[in-house]
Amino acid sequence: MGSGSRPVMLQRPDMPPAVAQPLTLDGVTHSYGGGLAVDNVTLEVKGGELVALLGPSGCGKTTLLRIVAGFIEQSNGKVIIGERPIDTLPPSRREIGIVFQNYALFPHMTVAQNIAYGLAARGESRKVQAERVAEMLAIVQLEAMADRKPRQLSGGQQQRVALARALAIRPRILLLDEPFAALDKNLRLDMQIEIKRLQRQFALTAIMVTHDQDEAMAIADRIAVMSQGRIEQVGTPTQVYDEPASLFVNGFLGTSNLLDGTVETAGPEGYGVALNAGTRWTVASSRKFAPGEPVTVSVRPEQMVLADEAGEGRFPVSVALSLPIGGELIHDVAGPAGTSLKIAAPRRPGVSSRSAEQAFCGLADHARPSLFARS
């Protein structure tokens, strides 16, 4: 089908590509209907790395994925695989495997025919096709389903077929579009492990698009948090969770308590912040603040504690509600000046609520609150 420059690795079905190729987005911009769907995104995905594009719907993550796939032509900027810009290549020449959100399996073909499709399109011999199909079926553990039609499979099985079909062409890059959105919650963890395993096994450079922070945290090597077409922060899952670069990232990943205050001092330990709630915390931050500057302190629920007595850095609160959720007890507490906070504490067996309504709230020993400028 007019494709002269097939990579050599296709002739050797049992050899995954030896070196994973890096994928670089260089100033990619896409305007759409007057607005910017993707706004000057620069991102380098290292060879063999899985980066999650995480953000709310409409943040441009899917557009970015479709630009990489070649379904949308960007207005500006470059997409580079290895050393080579691929912007002029049509999708069929990009050697990119895609797992679509609804899997997009060919409904009139069997599982085996679906997996063989990319090879058949390249004019590979029936023997090569059959060998590769058998190999892929073994890898995704669906040998028994080879002759079934997609609609005869469960959601998880369909996704494994979609993966096998994408990987059968030995792609250089793997794109995953909301891969777990259509799966039952119980199945998600299994498939997350499966995808991670295959991505490692095939040494694939991968981009996953998701709006689910748990998915991103679970399988991504790094997370790029997107908002309004821009990347707000790129980092490892723990980095973006523990040291969010902006209030948006802070709010999008996990739950957090926001407390207003004012910077009083700047010292080697961190900034002394007087909270409106009526106490003083020392908060470390990589960002610069001047004394007198109004700030917002963000603390994760599990980094706060409830105590019976007052103490340094604690302020009085009243416990409105306690919810036992699995091994945790989540307290909804009301602080001074109308603040509402959530505090998560390990739950002792048999305990389902807190005895006293009045309590004092402070930072746990390991707490690492974040500091943001407040306008």
């Binding site: 494709s3 069929s92 499709y117």
Partner: protein, 272 residues
């Protein structure tokens, strides 16, 4: 057990009555014409005094019914050719219209479908005048061209409907797997819209077979068409063979319909 209220019962009765009436009006004439075709009598009289295959024997007699046979083959040939050409043109048109989302595509769609609402009688007259001005003599090919205009929209409509139901993600998946457009069309698009095309061709063939208005203007004594022939016989002789022809047509349509259902049903099952 749910208790039925008075309005439930009246509803049931009203709907049942209407359905019965509908079936009576639709099936009644068919039953009467079939019963009449088996008569022994010389005339189209209902009920038949006695039953026999007399008129079917007469109808299939190659000598006495030669004119009817010629007309029947003309009709089948014209329907077949018009459907075949219509299929190619309509599928291409539907593919083009489905791919474009601009308003101009909607305009084209309306244009392609317009023969469905055009009064066919006026079209028949217009076609006759047009072709005579052009100096083209009436022939079977002219009839094919005339029928083509009237029946192609059936195929266009069903094909377009199945194309709009086609998940565009499938074609993107095909592209990302390295397939060319042509390959994707052959292995993805065509198999998935085939039931729609087949259904449209069935409708088109049937509608060409019993088209009167266009044939009325474009056929001649030499290129007689079955419906026109039947009408002629009806006017002149009240020949019972007309009933026999109707019987054969009904049977043929029934068989064709079952075959169609089997085929498209099968493809539907295959395509999930």
């Amino acid at each position: 057990m749910q208790r039925s209220t008075f309005s439930d019962i009246t509803y049931k009765w009203a709907v049942g009555l209407l359905a019965g009436l509908g079936i009576l009006i639709l099936v009644g004439p068919v039953a009467i014409v079939i019963a009449t075709s088996f008569t022994t009598s010389q005339t189209l009289r209902f009920p038949p005094p006695e039953l026999s295959l007399r008129w079917y024997r007469e109808l299939f007699d190659p000598v006495r019914s030669a004119q009817i046979h010629i007309a029947a083959w003309n009709s089948v040939w014209v329907a077949f050719c018009a459907t075949a050409v219509g299929m190619v043109l309509s599928v291409l048109a539907a593919l083009a219209v489905a791919r474009v989302s601009r308003p101009s595509a909607r305009l084209l769609e309306a244009g392609f479908l317009s023969p469905l609402v055009l009064p066919t009688l006026s079209y028949g007259l217009a076609a006759l005048m047009f072709f005579s001005v052009m100096g083209i003599r009436p022939s079977l090919n002219l009839l094919i061209a005339g029928h083509l205009v009237v029946i192609a929209p059936f195929i266009f409509r069903t094909t377009l409907a199945s194309l709009t139901q086609l998940d565009p993600g499938l074609l993107e998946a095909s592209q990302s797997l390295g397939a060319s457009r042509l390959y994707a069309f052959r292995r993805i698009t065509l198999p998935l819209i085939a039931p729609g095309i087949a259904a449209g061709c069935f409708l088109a063939f049937i509608s060409s077979m019993d088209n009167v208005p266009v044939s009325l203007f474009l056929s001649t004594a030499r290129t007689g068409m079955l419906p026109i022939r039947m009408w002629g016989m009806m006017e002149s002789t009240l020949d019972v063979r007309i009933a026999a022809i109707a019987g054969v047509l009904i049977l043929a349509t029934l068989v064709l319909m079952l075959v169609m259902d089997r085929l498209t049903g099968l493809t539907k099952r295959m395509s999930g």
